[in-house]
Structures are given as structure tokens and as C-alpha cells.
């Protein structure tokens, strides 16, 4: 449960070998490359340009992947593992085939954009022509003559009707071409003699001038042509989409190309971190102790004239932090990294936290039926989905929580919301024992935290602090707890007084030499007892969350019981509701149990001992997103 010991590794190679060296380091995947030193480091201007070109290629390939993803011949699904490839597939030098595909996609997209532009233009023209579709002469023929004047435009339908009625019998022809809502499109031919009268009448009804575009064809003929052109565009667009769809078969190649570029980016970034002279390149980094020396030997062997050395970290250096645990415990590292990594030299609490996490999780889900499903279904899901490392950890945490849930569910006597046997703990009808149980588990959890703090102090060679800061509190809290029991009240009293006394005298030992000031600090520390009350009460959530699962499960069963009463259809429908509702209840409660179990670790448990602040270990390695590597 200790952190992985890191060593500093240096490698010096001839400049022509730098790319090969980085490739080797990336394949090994266990060195975090750091700047060699502030004065020697020289940025590589040539590398900068390569970095830029590489980034540009990456974003183009990524864009093409997104554009083509809907034509993927292999349907993606949550339950399908990513395709597995050999590491060598991520080290291709020549990506021209993939870049050629990207160029094709870009060209097709450009054409498609042009077609869209034309489409929009035609659409606008059609929209303008639409009101004039009823006009049976070309617009170019509508104009004033020697004796007549012409008006075209829009006017309110009702006013226009009135106008037509008023002007009936006078030398004017008013023709309505069509109307949209209240507004009608019309043209009017009026004898010049009464043109002024007509215009003033027209204005009175709210006329707006408008005219069809000048053209030799009638609007109807123009609309027909536009429809043909649009049809033609549609055919061309379909053709382009078809060619895109055909390119969908290249998606795997594009994804691999992206992974290659991403791996190359890692190496180029590393190159920028290394130091270079005219003829040699120097790499410095952190590597786990177990692999550092073998890697250094391998580098010397692989490159002529290369030098490599390994040393332990020196005072003042802050190596990155990597957790290493037994495979059973390893998933729970995700809980730690979700908060913050422990500082260098501090404890890795994963192994100690694991049983508590499972217990707290189980108490909150607290339905043995749900626990069984989790414990049995999740290993199968992991087998089918082959999830990424991070997701896999969460899956295993939930599966482990499932096992614990079966135990707690059996104790609480809840199986899919049913309670088949009488039970020791009945949260609904007799809640006091369950509440005491929750606080008890909480006290155990918190004391374990204190003991870890004591272990940390012992490891530092400071047992005095362990007595003052940890054992004193254990004495005080247990003593106060015993006070509640009449038989043990006497012992409890003395334990509490002893604990409080130690805290009072020693809590301020680092702050001041003045005994009065120390006592004041001691009182301040003693006031921390209030935080113990709130920490312990915080574990009441175990009861609340467990109660929620159980009661909702019970309600579901009661509802299903009612539905089931309705004959054969009722039984089928009831079964569907039963499965669906219990799935929903389980999902909500698993999520709740997970986040609350995390919180109890982060705030209550870690608050007692945890020293955070480690920087995560980020080695140069392959980290593919579209594929997974063969194990």
C-alpha cells in the first residue's frame, strides 16, 4: 500500500537516434519526461514547426472522422469493445493514404457547401416569385402605355375588395393574383385620366408597391425551371453523399491515422522537453524503480554511443505519484484519483479504504436482489464491452459493492423490495438498532482513519505525535461513548478525561513556547469534538439511503401486485413494470450510494489523516481513444 518508488532516469544519445529513443520509451510506456534543467534546455524551433503541422493534421483527420462517422460500416455501440490493434500499428511513418482520404472528404464537403449555396439562392428566388405565380404574362410586358398606367403590389384583401367594388364600371382593371393571410397580390391597369384618383384610393387602403423580377418568362414558367434546377441539385447532393458513404469504409484507417498522429504528438512534445546540442540529445524523466535500471541498460544496448543513468530522487525533488495495489484493490484507486493523489511519502489508503467503501456502498443500496444482479451481471458486461481502464475500474467497484449489498440486503431482509423472513434489522418499523449500527460503522471508519494517521506518524519516526494527535482522540471519543452505558460509565469518564487532557496540553506544541498560549490552542483543538459529532451524524445517511431503496422497492411491488390482479394482460404488463421500475430504483440508488460512499471517504475518512498533493504520473505512452491495444 505504499506509493510506487520513482527514480530519476537520464539518457544521452546521438542526435540521429533521438526519434528512435523516444519511440522506444513510448513503447515501454513507463517514463514521464521532464525538462532536463532550466539552463541547458533549448527549445527546438524545427520541432515547433513539426508540432504545428502535426496538430493541424490531427484536427483535419479528426474532423473527417466526425464527418464520416455516420457512414461507419461497423455500427458503434456501447456494448461493443473498441477494435484491438498491435502497438506497431500506432507507429506508421507513412500516413499519406489517410491524408488522401481526408482531402477527398474536404473536397466533397466543399462541393456540398457550394450546392447548398445554390439551393438557398433558388429557394429565395422561388419565394419571391410565388406571389406572382398567377400572372399569365412575363413581367417584362407589364408597363405603362400611352393611355394606361399600371400598378402592382400588395394590399389588404378587404380594402382591395372594396376598391374593386367602387371602381367597377370605371376604366380600370383590377386583378387579384393570390393572397397570403390578409394580404393580396394584385395588378391594376387604369386609364391615365383617372390614374391620380386611383392612386389616392389605393394609398388609402394601405397599398405597398412590389413588382415581379423582370424576365421574358411568366412567373409560372420561371418557377417550373427553378423546380427542375432544384431537382438537379438534389441529385448532385445525393451523389456527393453517396461518395461520402463510400469513404465510410476508410474510417478505420482514419482512426488509426489519428492514433498515429496522437502518438507522434506525444513524442514531439517530449522532444521539446529534452535538451539538445549540435550532436547529442539528453532525455530526463521519472520512472518506477522496478523498470528504471532495466530500461537504462536497454537504451545503452540499443544505441551506439548512448549513455544512461539512474538515481534516487534527491532532497527537494517532487517525483510524480503512482499508486500500485493488488489487482483486487486496484479498481478502488479510481476513488482516490477522483479526489486527489496522496503526497510523496504519504500513505496510499486504497487497500484500507476498499472494505469500508464496499460496506458503506452495500448499506446504502441495501437490497440483496439488486446486489445479486450487480455482482453477477457486471463481470459479464465487462467481458462483452471490454471497457477502457478507467471505466473498468468503476465497473469492478460496483460489482464489489454488489457483493457487499447482498450481505447487507440479507441482513436488512430486502430482496427486490420483498422481505421474506423476519429480520434482525427492520429500518421501517424499528429504526433505532439500524441507526446505532450506522453510527457504529461510522465510528469504526473514523477510528481507522485516525489509526492510519498514527501509522503515518510512526513511519516518520514521530510516535509522540501519534499519541498526541490520534490516540488522544480515540481515547476521548470512546470514553464519551462509554459514558452512555451505565456499566462502563466509570471507565469511560477516565478515558475521556485522559484523552481530553492530552489534547489540551499538547495540541499547541508546535505553535508557541508560551504555556498559556499552548493551553489556549489546546482548548481550540478540544472544540474539534463538535466536528466529531457532525462526522458521526453524517453516517446517518447510510440509514436514509438504505431506507429510500427499501421503501421504493416496496411501493413498486405493491403497484405491481395491483396490476397483476388484472388477468393475463395484467400479468404481462405487471412483469414489465416490475423489471423496469426495479431497474430504475436500482440505478438511482447505485448512483446515490456511489457518490455518498465517495463523500464519506473524502470528507469524513480522509479528513482524519490524508495528506494530498501528489502530482499524477504521466508517462509518455500510447493512449488511444478509437482503438485499444492488444494486451
Amino acid at each position: 500500500m505504499a506509493l510506487v518508488e520513482m527514480q530519476r532516469i537520464y539518457a544521452l544519445v546521438m542526435k540521429n537516434d533521438q526519434a528512435a529513443l523516444l519511440q522506444m520509451v513510448q513503447r515501454a510506456g513507463c517514463v514521464q519526461i521532464t525538462p532536463v534543467g532550466t539552463d541547458e534546455a533549448q527549445g527546438l524551433s524545427a520541432a515547433d514547426q513539426r508540432v504545428q503541422r502535426n496538430e493541424e493534421a490531427m484536427s483535419r483527420v479528426r474532423w473527417a472522422i466526425n464527418r464520416l462517422s455516420r457512414y461507419d460500416p461497423v455500427k458503434q455501440s456501447m456494448f461493443k469493445p473498441l477494435p484491438a490493434v498491435e502497438p506497431a500499428a500506432l507507429e506508421e511513418e507513412d500516413l499519406s493514404a489517410a491524408i488522401a482520404v481526408v482531402e477527398q472528404v474536404e473536397e466533397l464537403e466543399r462541393q456540398s457547401g457550394e450546392l447548398r449555396g445554390q439551393h438557398t439562392r433558388l429557394e429565395q428566388m422561388a419565394e419571391q416569385l410565388q406571389p406572382w405565380a398567377g400572372l399569365d404574362v412575363p413581367a417584362s410586358q407589364i408597363h405603362d402605355t400611352a393611355t394606361t398606367r399600371v400598378w402592382t403590389g400588395h394590399a389588404p384583401q378587404r380594402g382591395l375588395n372594396r376598391l374593386m367594388k367602387e371602381w367597377a364600371g370605371r376604366p380600370a382593371v383590377i386583378s387579384v393574383l393570390g393572397s397570403q393571410r390578409d394580404s393580396a397580390t394584385f395588378y391594376a391597369v387604369v386609364h391615365k385620366a383617372c390614374a391620380d384618383d386611383f392612386l389616392s384610393d389605393l394609398r388609402a387602403i394601405g397599398y405597398q408597391h412590389a413588382a415581379p423580377l423582370l424576365n421574358q418568362e411568366t412567373p409560372a414558367e420561371q418557377l417550373e425551371h427553378i423546380a427542375w434546377e432544384r431537382e438537379d441539385l438534389r441529385v448532385q447532393e445525393a451523389h456527393i453523399e453517396q461518395r461520402m458513404a463510400d469513404l465510410g469504409t476508410s474510417l478505420h484507417m482514419l482512426r488509426l491515422a489519428y492514433e498515429n498522429l496522437a502518438a507522434r504528438k506525444g513524442r514531439l512534445d517530449a522532444l521539446g522537453t529534452m535538451a539538445h546540442t549540435q550532436s547529442v540529445s539528453v532525455l530526463a524523466g521519472w520512472a518506477p524503480k522496478a523498470v528504471a535500471q532495466p530500461l537504462a541498460d536497454a537504451i545503452i544496448k540499443a544505441f551506439p554511443g548512448a549513455q544512461a543513468m539512474v538515481r534516487d530522487p534527491i532532497e527537494g525533488e517532487d517525483p510524480p505519484v503512482l499508486l500500485h495495489n493488488h489487482p483486487v484493490v486496484r479498481p478502488y484507486e479510481a476513488v482516490i484519483t477522483g479526489f486527489a493523489l496522496p503526497a510523496n511519502g504519504a500513505l496510499d489508503p486504497t487497500a484500507v479504504m476498499m472494505p469500508f467503501f464496499a460496506i458503506l456502498f452495500g448499506m446504502m443500496v441495501s437490497d440483496a436482489g439488486y446486489g445479486l444482479v450487480m455482482a453477477l451481471l457486471i463481470p459479464i458486461l465487462v467481458k462483452i464491452m471490454q471497457p477502457s481502464e478507467g471505466a473498468r475500474k468503476i465497473f469492478w467497484i460496483i460489482a464489489g459493492g454488489g457483493v457487499s449489498t447482498v450481505l447487507w440486503g440479507a441482513l436488512y431482509n430486502t430482496w427486490f423490495g420483498f422481505g421474506p423472513w423476519p429480520s434482525l434489522f427492520d429500518p421501517v418499523n424499528d429504526s433505532l438498532p439500524v441507526m446505532i449500527l450506522c453510527i457504529g460503522v461510522g465510528a469504526l471508519h473514523l477510528f481507522t482513519g485516525l489509526i492510519l494517521g498514527a501509522v503515518q506518524n510512526f513511519r516518520r519516526g514521530d510516535p509522540f505525535s501519534a499519541v498526541c494527535d490520534q490516540f488522544s482522540w480515540i481515547l476521548l471519543v470512546i470514553g464519551l461513548g462509554l459514558l452512555l452505558l451505565p456499566q462502563a460509565a466509570q471507565i469511560g469518564k477516565w478515558m475521556a478525561i485522559l484523552g481530553a487532557g492530552i489534547i489540551l496540553v499538547t495540541a499547541g506544541r508546535d505553535k508557541s513556547k508560551n504555556p498559556i498560549k499552548r493551553l489556549v490552542s489546546g482548548f481550540g483543538a478540544l472544540y474539534g469534538i463538535t466536528s466529531w459529532v457532525s462526522d458521526l451524524l453524517s453516517y446517518m445517511r447510510l440509514f436514509g439511503m438504505g431506507l429510500a431503496t427499501g421503501v421504493i422497492g416496496m411501493v413498486i411491488n405493491q403497484l405491481v401486485g395491483m396490476i397483476m390482479g388484472g388477468g393475463i394482460l395484467g400479468i404481462i404488463f405487471g412483469a414489465v413494470v416490475f423489471v423496469g421500475a426495479h431497474l430504475f430504483n436500482a440505478a438511482i440508488n447505485i448512483l446515490g450510494a456511489y457518490v455518498h460512499a465517495c463523500r464519506l471517504q473524502y470528507i469524513e475518512f480522509f479528513g482524519k489523516f490524508y495528506e494530498e498533493g501528489g502530482k499524477p504520473f504521466k508517462p509518455l505512452r500510447f493512449a488511444p481513444r478509437y482503438v485499444r491495444l492488444h494486451e
Partner: protein, 158 residues
Amino acid sequence: MLSIGQILAFAAAALSTLIAGYGSAKAVGLAGQTSAGVSTENPEVNSKLMVLQILPGTQGIYGFLIAVIILVNTGALSGNLKDVDLLQGVMLLVAILPVVVVGYLSAIHQAKVASAGMLMVGQHPDMSGKAITMTVMVETYAVLALLASFLMVNAVKL
């Protein structure tokens, strides 16, 4: 023939589902809007945001839970309604106060923390664990209110 006490018991059940549920609905809605906004900027964090979005939904469940317990205790679910006298009815109405008031308010506050957390996750996706922890901090008081209401409702012996 229904008594006033029985009606008060039903009112207690109704209000506890109604107000706590309303708070949660409002809260999940608020968080959902933020989630949609952040996802537009950074679609990849969407699944992380969904966890944050449903966290303020639990208060509604707690309110519903108290309602169910009232219905169980009054026998409404088993079909033969027990007699509830006036004072017992009033006691039930008092008993739901924690889950109703704290539930409603904490849901809204939790949604605000969740929304702020979403903005944080949008910028730093690896901080989603911290955002969830911050949001869950608010929930503590809803859980305590649920327990208080539950104990009080159970203390009304019918």
C-alpha cells in the same frame, strides 16, 4: 365516513410529495439547462454532467418516501383506512415540515452548486469527482431532514 384527521394525513402525504417534488423538478431542470449549455461547448463531458444533473433529484424521492410511509401507517395502501384523530393529523402535518422545507430549499441550492460544478467540469473534465463531492455536500441536510421527518411520522402511533 372520513374524519378530519384522515384528511389531514392525506394532506400531509400530498404536500410532502408535492413540495419536495416541485423543488427537485425545478432543481433538475435548472441543472439540465446548464448541462445543455456546457455540452454545446464541450460535448465530450456530457455523460459526466448527467450525473451532476440528477443529484438534486433525490429530494423529490425523499418527499415521496415520507408520503408512502404516511400512507402505509394510515393503512391507505392496504385498503382499510385506520382512524386518525385531529391531533394526530396535525402531528403528521408538522412531521413532514423538515422534508418539505429543507427538501425544497436544498434541492434548489444543490442545483446551483451542480450548475457551477458543470462549468468547472466543462473546463477541467478531470475534476468531475470534486464537482460531485461538492454537490453531495448539500444533500446531507436533505438526508437529515428525511430522517427527522421519518422518525416523527413513525412516532405517530395509529
